[in-house]
């Protein structure tokens, strides 16, 4: 037992102290990576064999439109986890952004000037989401509160604010312009699927091709060393939480647009779990230093497929919860690697 935990610490120390993984670790990470692909292949196979009507275009549409929100949030979560942090407030931010949008285009001003209302219904909720992210980031980087606790504040109160704003009511609406976000099709595929893909490509480009990405990974790899070598640690951290909240805001708007209704109690509920699971399954290291953006996309697809597989085969939601739990543990345990 003792040597096991000592071993773990040794490994973690090694991971954070050197950016270049040693051979053994690289082997492990490839295993983890392939594990994800194998899991995906297995899931697809099971579905093709057992799920009725799985190879149907409609199935594809349903899954894409549902996976998009998970993927968008999971990408933001991956970036946060890459700095060694975590963001529990994503679900609450989704609820907040989602609650604001119908309030804005449904307001008197929004009805009088539909176009202005529509633009404001996108801009204002996202601005609020950015503010939430800035709050998280400042708490974490300036006040040095641990990420779990700092984001816990908005996790608790963010949804409460959304419910206070809407009085806890379900807001239904019909606004074709806004609903395009959730029901529109581009090249035959759901719009939000393209949106998620675009965000993933952008995030990938930023992480791998820009100085901001280098800074991000440096902070996650070894914060102290990054600070000493002139990386603006504070700015990077505040920025990454703002990006994460911004993406959560987008996901919140998408969910509202899909349903043509905003329910502050349910929008984004438990999304933080899905997003963390997707990021971890996709290969993100909780210690930070790695930002596999497309891994997160893959992880989101797996999480969604597991949900869909169980649902389509008439297995209750409750079992799906247990299955999700097992997936998370298996993914992380594989990542940590067993004692040799």
């Amino acid at each position: 037992m003792n040597s096991a935990s000592a071993d773990a610490n040794h490994d973690q120390g090694k991971r954070s102290s050197s950016r270049r993984p040693s051979g053994r670790l690289a082997w492990r990470s490839t295993l983890a990576r392939h594990g994800t692909l194998i899991a995906l292949a297995a899931l697809l196979l099971v579905n093709v064999l057992f799920t009725p009507n799985f190879l149907h275009l409609q199935t594809l549409f349903v899954n894409i439109s549902q996976v998009a929100t998970i993927a968008i949030v999971a990408i933001g979560m991956t970036l946060v986890i890459a700095t060694g942090g975590i963001d529990l407030s994503v679900g609450a931010v989704m609820a907040l952004a989602g609650a604001l949008a119908p309030l804005i285009f449904g307001s008197e001003l929004g009805v009088a000037y539909p176009l202005l209302g529509l633009v404001a219904a996108f801009v204002l909720p996202l601005a609020v989401a950015l503010a939430c992210g800035a709050f998280n980031g400042v708490m974490i980087s300036v006040l040095r509160v641990q990420p779990i606790i700092a984001t816990l504040i908005l996790f608790i109160s963010g949804r409460g604010i959304a419910q206070v704003l809407t009085n806890g009511n379900l807001q239904t609406f019909s606004n074709p312009g806004f609903s395009y976000l959730g029901t529109g099709r581009v090249l035959g595929l759901p719009f939000q699927g393209w949106l998620a893909l675009l965000i993933a490509v952008l995030a990938f480009w930023v992480v791998n091709r820009t100085i901001h990405g280098r800074h991000l990974l440096a902070v996650g790899g070894n914060e102290r060393a990054a600070a000493l070598s002139g990386v603006p640690v504070r700015r990077v951290k505040i920025g990454v939480y703002m990006v994460c909240a911004f993406l959560a805001g987008i996901a919140g708007l998408v969910v509202v647009a899909i349903n043509s209704a905003s329910d502050a109690a349910r929008n984004g509920n438990l999304m933080e779990l899905d997003a963390i699971a997707a990021a971890v399954v996709g290969g993100a290291l909780l210690q930070g230093g790695r930002a596999p953006v497309f891994g997160a996309l893959l992880g989101a697809v797996i999480i969604q497929l597991v949900k869909y597989t169980l649902l389509a085969n008439g297995i209750e939601d409750e079992v799906a919860l247990v299955a999700k739990a097992l997936i998370i543990v298996a993914a992380v345990a594989l990542q940590q690697g067993r004692r040799e």
């Binding site: 037992m1 096991a4 935990s5 006040l143 816990l152 971890v280 067993r338």
Partner: protein, 347 residues
């Protein structure tokens, strides 16, 4: 996420850490929480006539017994630098178990419920220690697993307890007609946890792990055993809380327990326990839990007087703001007591 993976906000662990610890450990934070608690009680006593009434005190303590319990368990886990997110759904699971066992009487249902909690604690300990999954993720998974499990065994229905047996005595009657049974039990658990933490080598080991796990291992402390104890204890506390839940409300409730882990963490934080581990006090945690409960008790009274009218949704907002406030205060206290050169060099 353990203390290992997340460098503590106070920077590297070196000599001054000990100073901070002893400074805070002393009466600093406990005293602060106690002052806030007393101030709030005085405020309530002056402002509301029924506030000091036997009924309010009993129902307040009875309701908060569950939260105090899980906060105590959480405190021990957090001291080791870990976290236990599964407490809420484990409590829900054991409330269902206890409800099923209630026809056999309290003597079966109580241990049964606690054992159910301990079993989940064992799962946590296994996944964290043997599979080496970070506590944050491992207990998150247990949260989902226990939730699913309780929905499965209860068929997503509340399970009514057997009113004929002596089971509901625990949550609804008073020992010797004075103190609710649940409070008595919580007191026992709190004293037990205090003794373990402050007076035994196991407690020293728990604190040492939080202070520096590598060093503890190198010193030959039984790190694995101590950590396993913390998670088993936390699971047991959650199990007992679940028994209280079933007994006090007359039903096993598979859907209850959402967000309990957050109240527990908040209580622990309010009590001044550092989330990075290595520092903490059971007494302060109990005070922290009481303080959080009291805030809502007072809000209810304020609502009752009609001066304000806050919907249930406001509770969440206030809970979050309160946590925010406490963290800010804690930061100030920590900063004042630290020499200025403690933080990592900021860019």
């Amino acid at each position: 996420m353990s203390a290992r993976t997340d460098p503590p906000p106070t920077g590297q662990r070196s000599g001054f850490d000990v100073d901070l610890r002893s400074a805070l450990r002393g009466n600093g934070q406990t005293f602060g929480v106690l002052v806030a608690l007393v101030a709030l009680i005085c405020f309530g006593l002056v402002r509301y006539e029924n506030f000091g009434g036997a009924y309010n005190i009993a129902s307040f303590l009875n309701y908060n017994a569950m939260f105090i319990l899980i906060a105590i368990g959480m405190c021990l886990v957090i001291i080791t630098g870990g976290i236990d997110l599964s407490v809420g759904s484990v409590a829900a699971f054991s409330s269902v178990c206890a409800a099923y066992l209630s026809p056999y009487g309290l003597q079966v249902a109580l241990p049964g419920g606690v054992l159910a909690g301990v079993a989940f604690g064992a799962v946590n300990a296994f996944v964290i220690l043997t599979l080496r999954v970070p506590p944050f993720i491992a207990t998150l998974a247990t949260l989902l697993g226990a939730k699913g499990g309780s929905l499965i065994i209860s068929d997503a229905q509340t399970i009514s307890v057997d009113w004929g047996s002596n089971f509901t005595k625990l949550g609804m009657e008073k020992a010797f007609g004075v103190v609710p049974w649940s409070i008595l039990l919580v007191l026992l658990v709190a004293i037990g946890a205090w003794v373990v933490l402050e007076r035994t080598s196991l407690g020293r080991t728990l604190l040492a792990i939080g202070g520096g796990e590598d060093a503890s291992v190198l010193m030959g402390l039984k790190v694995g055993r101590a950590k396993a104890f913390a998670y088993l204890f936390s699971g047991g506390c959650a199990g007992l809380a679940g028994v209280f839940l079933a007994s006090g409300f007359g039903a096993g409730q598979p859907l209850e327990g959402v967000g309990w882990e957050l109240s527990a963490i908040a209580s622990v934080v309010v009590g001044g326990t550092l989330l990075t581990g290595g520092l903490g006090s059971v007494t302060a945690t109990v005070f922290g839990a009481l303080l959080l409960g009291l805030v809502f008790n007072i809000l209810n009274f304020e609502n009752g007087r009609g001066t304000i009218s806050l919907s249930a949704y406001w509770q969440e907002v206030i809970r979050g703001s309160f946590l925010f406030l406490v963290i800010l205060l804690q930061m100030r206290v920590a900063r004042r007591r630290l020499p200025p050169a403690t933080g990592a060099p900021s860019p």
